[in-house]
């Protein structure tokens, strides 16, 4: 089988990997790097459970060929905390009950983190717009939006991904 040598920097650590040309990034993260925080669900870029940051921007990792990410910096949900301390977004999700079964949560947290990096004080409409591509089947979204609003109001202490 054809194999490609690629290099990925995941949560600050560089990995030299040999991947198949048809291998998706989600599988590389979960199976090769044992980072199972990134979930796979719909496989069609619709639900957002597999969202990671690729050079700072949210992407669907389940439909992204790992080869296309060669040379990129990837941030997964595992890369957000610092020395065991959760970020403001993660804390807010806990405090506001924005998590129930938790399957979609990494995708929501990553997407919210990217939004607040780009726009530290988004309006409610901007939050809803940024999260419209993520599906949650438990919370009904209200608490998720409230959690992000709370971080925005708190002027974003410790929100950063780096």
């Amino acid at each position: 089988m054809t194999q490609l040598d690629i290099s990925l920097t995941v949560n600050g650590a560089r990995h030299e990997l040999s991947v198949g040309p048809t291998e998706m990034l989600t599988e590389v993260l979960r199976r090769r790097l044992d980072m199972t925080g990134t979930n796979r669900d719909c496989g069609m870029g619709i639900c957002g459970a597999c969202t990671v940051l690729l050079d700072g921007q949210p992407v669907s990792s389940c439909i992204l060929l790992a080869a296309l990410a060669d040379g990129s910096e990837i941030t997964t949900v595992e890369g957000l905390e610092r020395d065991g301390r959760l970020t403001a977004v993660q804390e807010a999700f806990l405090r506001h009950g924005a998590v129930q079964c938790g399957y979609c949560t990494p995708g929501f947290v990553i997407t919210s983190t990217a939004l607040l990096e780009e726009n530290p004080s988004p309006s409610r409409e901007e939050i809803v717009e940024a999260l419209k591509g993520n599906l949650c089947r438990c919370t009904g979204y209200k608490k998720i939006v409230e959690a992000v609003e709370a971080v925005a109001r708190a002027k974003g202490d410790g929100v950063g991904v780096s």
């Binding site: 048809t22 496989g43 870029g45 619709i46 690729l54 439909i63 060929l65 997407t111 591509g133």
Partner: protein, 296 residues
């Protein structure tokens, strides 16, 4: 089956590699730009590629610039997000920013490219509809050189385009905006972040004759209204020399109903989609008319 992967370093090299790859795989080679539709089709087991030609890093496919004739050139490899946020697009072809804003969601816009979407030729795609209405020219490079294809002649069948298997879409060229021009994009979808088979979209570009307060020229593209993105040629004629209003829209509705054949899906019937297409078209023409300086 084994799959090969090439990453050529120039567009000319990409064409050469693509020719070789198509021959070696009997036409099962695929260009990769954003990789969005490709990833979905692979996960759905609708595509078993045998050779990828990765054009995602080619500088020749990037960039949005004013062209020498006063129009705009958009590299086929520009991502939807770039189109949405480009100051040049906002200033001169705001309809494209309006269209790009409506594509799926941020994750998709951060990866998907305008050229990739046009080449996919999904009947629900948004960029094809806009380039039809704007009368864009699609410039492709192949082994025989450069070829300019009018967007109105690009979409040939279900996921089929005028592009040869060995050609690469290089750029989208937009004609210069005219005086008293207005353009708008309208979309109807079951879920805003998802371009499902029930999505219907309409792109309108028109010019207004200030003397007669009538439509002088009009371009109409429709998505979700047939097997391909649709150039609504007959419906365009129904608007020429008329002023948008009840009489004009009644004629549009009649012509449009005969011109489009939307595919029924598990949400909506063909008739309902025709009705929705006419409603969205009326609203979008009104918006374009107002933007051209016309009064309601």
């Amino acid at each position: 089956m084994d799959c090969r992967y090439s990453r050529p370093e120039s567009l000319a090299e990409a064409v050469a590699v693509l020719c070789e790859a198509q021959e070696a795989t009997e036409g099962e080679a695929h260009l990769v730009a954003g990789g969005v539709a490709l990833g979905i089709l692979m996960n759905e087991k609708l595509l078993a590629p045998r050779w990828f030609v990765d054009v995602s890093r080619l500088a020749e496919l990037k960039g949005i610039e004013a062209s020498e004739d006063g129009g705009l050139r958009i590299g086929a490899g520009c991502r939807h997000r770039e189109v949405e946020r480009s100051p040049l697009v906002a200033e001169r072809y705001a309809i494209l920013a309006e269209m790009a804003a409506e594509i799926a969601c941020g994750r998709i816009k951060n990866r998907g490219t305008i050229g990739g979407n046009i080449c996919l030729a999904d009947p629900q795609g948004d960029p094809p509809v806009a380039v039809i209405a704007l009368r864009a020219t699609l410039r492709a490079l192949g082994p025989k050189g450069t070829r300019d294809i009018p967007a109105t002649d690009f979409f040939k069948g279900l996921y089929e385009t005028a592009l040869g298997p060995d050609e690469i879409l290089q750029e989208i060229r937009l004609p210069p905006p005219q005086a008293n021009e207005g353009a708008a994009f309208g979309k109807f979808s079951a879920r805003r972040a998802m371009d499902y088979s029930s999505t219907i979209s309409v792109a309108v570009r028109l010019t207004r004759d200030p003397a007669s307060e009538q439509i002088l020229e009009i371009g109409l593209g429709l998505g979700g209204s047939g097997e391909t993105p649709i150039w609504a040629k007959e419906t365009e004629k129904a608007f020429i020399g008329r002023r948008p209003g009840d009489e004009c829209f009644a004629l549009m509705r009649e012509t449009l109903f005969a011109e489009i054949e939307p595919l029924a899906d598990d949400l909506y019937s063909q008739d309902y989609k025709r009705h929705v297409a006419a409603v969205i078209m009326k609203r979008t023409v009104e918006k374009a008319w107002q933007r051209s300086g016309g009064t309601a």
